[in-house]
C-alpha cells in the first residue's frame, strides 16, 4: 500500500533555491550569447574608440597608476600575513585538487550563499555584475593594446553584456543598500560606516557614472544620426546604440534635453576622470577591510580543513593533541597558541552575521556570538600583534597582556558553544569557529582547570566511573537481562558476528533510552542481523570528554575502545548515538582505529529496503503528523539525512518538516557536552526547538539521538504549545518497531 506523503519545505525548497541561483548565475553569459547571435546580421564594422574624448596621455596614466594601485593593494594582505605568522604552523596545502574543486564550488560558485536567499541573490548580482565589468575592462585593454577583436557583432554583444552586468551590479547594490538602511536585519549589527556603507555607495557611484559616461559618449557619437565620422577613420552608426540599452536611454535623454555637444564633452571628460579615480581607488581598497574578502576569503576556502575521513565541518573532527609531554601549552590560551590558519580566519570574517543568526546559543540569549568572538580576537590581534612581532624580532620573550581564552574571549562565550556546527555550515568562507572554541576549552580545562561546576562534575564522573550518567540505577547489562526475560538473547561480541552494536552509555544507563535500545535490538533480531554487544566491557566513546576540553581523557577512553575493538576483531559498528557515531567515524582514525561505523537509522533503512523488515499495511502510527528533528551530529556533521526520513515514510507517518531542518537543523541544546552542563544563561535551547516543532501540524516528534530524545521530551512536557497538543517524542527505531510485522510474538509492553 503506497500513500502520498507530504514533505513540506525540505527538499522542494532546496531545489527551488538551487534553480533560482542557477538561473541568476547563467543569466548574464546567456544574455550575452543570445545578443551575439541576434547581432550577427550586418553590423560588421561596429566598434568604438577606447580613450574617446580624453587626452591621449590618459593611457599612460592609467597603466602607470595600475602599478601603484597594485602595490597599495598588496600591502594590505602582506601586513596581515605577518600577524598570522605569530601563530603555530599547520599544513593546509595538501590535496591541492580537492582544494581547487572546493574553491570552484564555494569560491567562484559561492555555494554557501543560497542559505540566505536575499543576501545570496544580492551578493551574486554584485559579484557577477562586477566580475563581468572587470573582465570587460580587461578585454577592452586587450582590444586596444594587443589585438583588436571588439568589432562587429562581438562588440555589440560585448556592449550588451556589460550593460546587463552593470544593471545586475546596480540592482545588487540597491538591494544591499535597502538592507542596510531600511530592512536592517539584526545580524548586520556589526556593520561599519567605511567598510559596509561607504563601500556600497562607492560601488554604486562607479556603476552609475559608468552608465552616464556611456550615455554621453553615445549622445555625442552614435545618437548624432546616421553614419558619421568621429575621427581616426572611425565611423559610428545610430543602430548600434540599442546594444547599450542603459547608455542609449541616458544619451537619448541628454540629447532630448538639448544638451549641446560642448556641454556633453565637458561632462563626459570630467566624469570619465572621476570614474577612473573611483575605480582605481576601489581596486586599491581590495587589499583592506571587508573588501579584502575577495582575496582572503578565496584563500580561506582553499585552505579549509580537509578531513581524511570526509568530515563535513572542521568541528566534526577536532585535531588531536599529540605532544602532551612537550607542549608549551595545551590548547589555546594566548595568540601564539593558535595556528596561522586560525588567526587568518579572523581577518576573513566580513561580519555577514549568518553564523550568529543560526547560532542556538546566541539566539537563546547567551553570551556566545560566533561573529562577535572572531571580531574580538581580530581587534586584539591587530592591537597586540605588532608588539609581539617586535618583541620576537628583538629576541625577547613575548608577553601578551591578556590571555585570549577567558580574557579577550570570555569564559561564558567559550562554554556556551554546543558544537552544533550551524556557524561553520553557514559561513561562506569556511571559517572554523568550533576548533577555536574547543582549543580554548582545552586550555581552560587542562591548563587552568577553569570550567562550569557541572562540566567539572561530568569530567570527574567520566574519569571515575567511565560514563557520564551520575546516579544511574542501571548497569550496562541491566537491559540485556531484561531482554532475556522477553526471550531475546543478545550475544556478547566475540568476532563471529558481523556487527558490533555499540549501545552507548545513554542507551544502557538511562531508562527512557533503554527503551530505544530494546526496540532497535528487537528489529535487528527480527531482520536476522548478526550482531553482538560488549556488555560490561563497553566504555564511554570519549565524545563528552573531548568536547568538554579534556583531550587527555578522550584519548585514554578512545584508545581503550580501539584496543577492545581490535582485540575482538570488530570491523563494523552500529551506533545509536550520533555523538558516538561521529567520534568513531571521524576521530578514532586519528588514533589508529579504522572501523566501518553506521548509525542505526542507516542500518534499519537498508533492512527495510532489502525487505528484511516487513511493514504493516496500517500501523498504530499510521498518518500521524510527525516532524523529524535532525540531530546536528547526524545531519549537519555527517550528512545522514535520507535514511531516517525513509524510515518514517515506511512507518506510515505523515512527515511534516520544520523550517530549520536537514543540514540547517537547530540544536536540541545537548551537543558539545552540554547534555550535562547546566544551561544557566538565557532561554532554554530545547524549549526553543520544541516550540518550533509544536508550530507545525505535527503531534509526534521523531528523533534519532538519545540526547535529542531527552531534551525534546523535557521540552514537550514544559512548553505550553506542545503540552496543549499532547506532543510525544519517539526515536525513529521505536516508530519503525510499531510498524513492523514481527514473525514471532514479541511482548510490546509499551503503546
Amino acid at each position: 500500500m503506497v500513500r502520498e506523503v507530504t514533505v513540506r519545505w525540505g527538499r522542494g525548497r532546496l531545489i527551488l533555491t538551487g534553480l533560482l541561483f542557477f538561473v541568476a548565475v547563467a543569466l548574464i553569459p546567456l544574455a550575452s550569447a543570445l545578443a551575439v547571435v541576434a547581432a550577427s546580421k550586418g553590423m560588421g564594422e561596429a566598434t568604438r574608440e577606447v580613450f574617446f574624448n580624453v587626452a591621449s596621455w590618459a593611457r599612460i596614466l592609467v597603466y602607470g597608476a595600475t602599478g601603484i594601485i597594485l602595490l597599495v593593494l598588496s600591502y594590505g594582505p602582506a601586513s596581515r600575513v605577518r600577524l598570522w605568522l605569530i601563530g603555530k604552523g599547520e599544513r593546509r596545502w595538501d590535496r591541492p585538487w580537492e582544494r581547487a574543486r572546493f574553491f570552484l564550488l564555494y569560491g567562484i560558485g559561492q555555494g554557501r550563499l543560497p542559505n540566505d536567499f536575499y543576501a545570496g541573490l544580492m551578493h551574486l548580482l554584485i559579484f557577477w555584475g562586477w566580475t563581468f565589468l572587470f573582465i570587460g575592462t580587461l578585454m577592452l585593454a586587450f582590444h586596444d593594446d594587443i589585438v583588436e577583436f571588439l568589432e562587429g557583432h562581438v562588440y555589440l554583444g560585448y556592449s550588451l553584456a556589460l550593460d546587463l552586468a552593470g544593471i545586475a551590479a546596480a540592482v545588487g547594490l540597491g538591494m544591499a543598500l535597502y538592507r542596510r538602511y531600511v530592512w536592517k536585519p539584526p545580524k548586520l549589527r556589526l556593520g561599519s560606516l567605511w567598510d559596509d556603507v561607504a563601500l556600497l555607495w562607492l560601488m554604486l557611484a562607479i556603476v552609475l557614472t559608468g552608465f552616464v559616461i556611456e550615455g554621453l559618449r553615445l549622445g555625442m557619437t552614435e545618437l548624432q544620426g546616421a553614419t558619421i565620422d568621429v575621427g581616426d577613420g572611425l565611423v559610428t552608426d545610430s543602430d548600434w546604440a540599442y546594444w547599450s540599452p542603459v547608455g542609449f536611454l541616458i544619451g537619448k535623454a541628454a540629447v532630448k534635453a538639448g544638451a549641446s555637444q560642448g556641454l556633453m564633452e565637458l561632462l563626459h571628460r570630467s566624469l570619465w576622470w572621476f570614474h577612473l579615480a573611483m575605480a582605481t581607488g576601489w581596486v586599491a581598497w581590495v587589499g583592506y577591510g571587508k573588501l579584502s574578502h575577495l582575496l582572503l576569503g578565496s584563500a580561506n576556502i582553499f585552505f579549509r580543513r580537509l578531513s581524511p575521513t570526509g568530515a563535513a565541518l572542521a568541528g566534526t573532527a577536532l585535531a588531536p593533541i599529540t605532544d602532551f609531554e612537550t607542549a608549551e601549552r595545551l590548547g589555546a590560551g594566548y595568540l601564539r597558541d593558535f595556528t596561522w590558519k586560525q588567526l587568518m580566519d579572523l581577518d576573513v570574517c566580513v561580519r555577514c552575521g549568518r553564523c550568529e543568526a543560526n547560532c542556538p546559543a546566541y539566539n537563546t540569549g547567551k553570551e556566545l556570538t560566533p561573529m562577535g568572538f572572531l571580531q574580538e580576537m581580530k581587534a586584539y590581534l591587530t592591537k597586540m600583534g605588532p608588539q609581539l612581532i617586535k618583541a620576537r624580532r628583538r629576541g625577547e620573550e613575548t608577553k601578551e597582556e591578556t590571555p585570549v581564552a577567558g580574557g579577550v574571549v570570555s569564559f561564558e562565550t567559550i562554554w556556551d558553544c554546543v558544537t552544533c556546527g550551524a556557524c561553520e555550515y553557514q559561513c561562506p568562507f569556511f571559517i572554523e569557529h568550533i576548533p577555536k572554541l574547543m582549543d580554548m576549552r582545552r586550555y581552560l580545562v587542562m591548563e587552568e582547570a577553569r570550567m562550569p561546576p557541572t562540566a567539572q562534575a561530568t569530567l570527574m564522573q567520566l574519569e571515575q566511573r567511565g560514563h557520564p550518567w551520575r546516579g544511574t540505577q542501571l548497569t550496562r547489562t541491566t537491559w540485556l537481562e531484561e531482554l532475556k526475560g522477553e526471550g531475546i538473547d543478545v550475544p556478547l561480541f566475540d568476532g563471529k558476528q558481523e556487527f558490533l552494536l555499540w549501545v552507548g552509555c545513554t542507551g544502557a544507563l538511562v531508562e527512557r533510552n533503554v527503551q530505544v535500545t530494546k526496540a532497535l535490538v528487537r528489529l535487528l533480531k527480527e531482520a536476522g542481523v548478526s550482531f553482538g554487544v560488549l556488555g560490561a566491557e563497553e566504555g564511554c566513546s570519549g565524545d563528552p570528554a573531548r568536547r568538554l576540553g579534556n583531550e587527555y581523557l578522550f584519548q585514554l577512553q578512545a584508545q581503550q575502545n580501539i584496543e577492545t575493538f581490535k582485540a575482538k576483531g570488530v570491523t563494523k559498528v552500529i551506533a545509536s548515538c550520533p555523538h558516538c557515531f561521529n567520534v568513531m567515524r571521524h576521530e578514532y582514525p586519528q588514533l589508529g582505529g579504522r572501523f566501518q561505523v553506521f548509525h542505526h537509522t542507516q542500518v534499519l533503512a537498508q533492512l527495510v529496503r532489502e525487505g528484511r523488515l516487513r511493514l504493516k499495511g496500517v500501523s498504530e502510527v499510521w498518518a500521524i503528523p510527525t516532524t523529524y528533528h535532525d540531530p546536528c551530529y547526524l545531519a549537519r556533521h555527517n550528512d545522514v539525512i535520507g535514511p531516517p526520513r525513509e524510515l518514517l515514510v515506511a512507518a506510515g507517518v505523515d512527515l511534516v518538516e520544520m523550517g530549520r531542518c536537514r543540514k540547517g537543523t537547530f540544536c536540541c541544546g545537548a551537543g558539545g557536552g552540554h547534555m550535562w552542563v547546566e544551561e544557566s544563561r538565557g532561554r532554554r535551547i530545547n524549549h526553543e526547538r520544541t516550540r518550533e516543532a509544536a508550530a507545525t501540524e505535527a503531534r509526534l516528534i521523531a528523533v534519532a539521538c538519545p540526547f535529542c530524545l531527552q531534551m525534546l521530551e523535557e521540552g514537550a512536557g514544559s512548553v505550553k504549545e506542545a503540552q496543549e497538543k499532547g506532543m510525544a517524542v519517539l526515536d525513529v527505531a521505536e516508530l519503525v518497531e510499531k510498524s513492523v510485522v514481527f514473525s514471532r510474538l514479541v511482548p510490546l509492553e509499551r503503546v
Partner: protein, 267 residues
Amino acid sequence: MALHIICCVKQVPDPETPPSQFRVDEAQKRVIPAPGIAPVPSQFDPIGVEAALRIRDAVGDVKISVLSMGPESYRDAIKHCLAMGADEGYLIDDPELYNADHWVTAQVLAQAIKEKLSPFDLVITGRQAVDWDMGVVGPTIAEVLGLPCVTIVKSVAVSDGKIVAERVLLDGFETVEAPLPAVVTVSNELGEPRYPQLRQIMMAARKQVTIWKATDLGLDPSSLRNRVNIEALYVPQVKVETEFIEGDTVEEKVEKLLQRLREAKLI
C-alpha cells in the same frame, strides 16, 4: 618555616553503585565489591586536600602530605590528591591491618604521623568516610596524639601559630580558634575540590607513593586489637505495601482515603 599539613584519605566502594549491584557476604560480614565498578576517593577526603590547598594559596609556603592506610588500590586515591596539588603520598599497606576498626586505624595513622611525618602543623581528615559513616577516625587521631580537634568545618585558615575554623552546626555556624598543631575534619560546605590540571595529573603519575608496613612504623600488628566488632552485616529488607482505595467517584475515594488515614492515625 614551611607549614606541614597532613591530609588523611581513604578509598571507598563507589557510593553511586546501583542498589541492584550492592551485595554483602553475611557470613564473612563484609561488603562484596560490585563487579566492574571501581572504588573512588571518599567524598570528604579530597575536600580536606582542597582545604590544605586553600591554606597554601593564602600563606604560600606549605607542604602537603597525603596519608592513607589500606590495600594497593588506595594508591589511586592518593594519586588523585597528588594531582590536585599535594606534594607527597604515603600508604600503609599491611594485610594484617585490612580489617582494622576506627581505633586501630587511628592508632596506626597517628603512629605514622608521629614517627615518619613529624614535624607537622595540621592534620586534616574528612568529616567521615562515606562507606561506614562513623566519623571518628579524625577525632581519635587527635586523641592519640593529644591534640586539639575541630570537627566538621566549612573553612579553615592559619595565622600566627593557630587555626581559625568555621564549624557547621545544625542551625548555623560557629567560629573557633585552636593552637597548632591541631586536627581538623572538613565537611562538604567547604566547597568542591578543585579539578586537577593535566600537567599535575601527569606529574602525579610519575610521583612515587611511599609504602610502609606496620613494622616500618615501629608497630606490632598483633598487639593492635579492634575495639568495635561487627556482629552481623546484612542488607535491610525494605517492604512496601500498597493499598488501592476503590470507589466509584472521586469524592467517595477521598472519603475512604481519609478514613484509612485516620484509622492509621496518620492524620
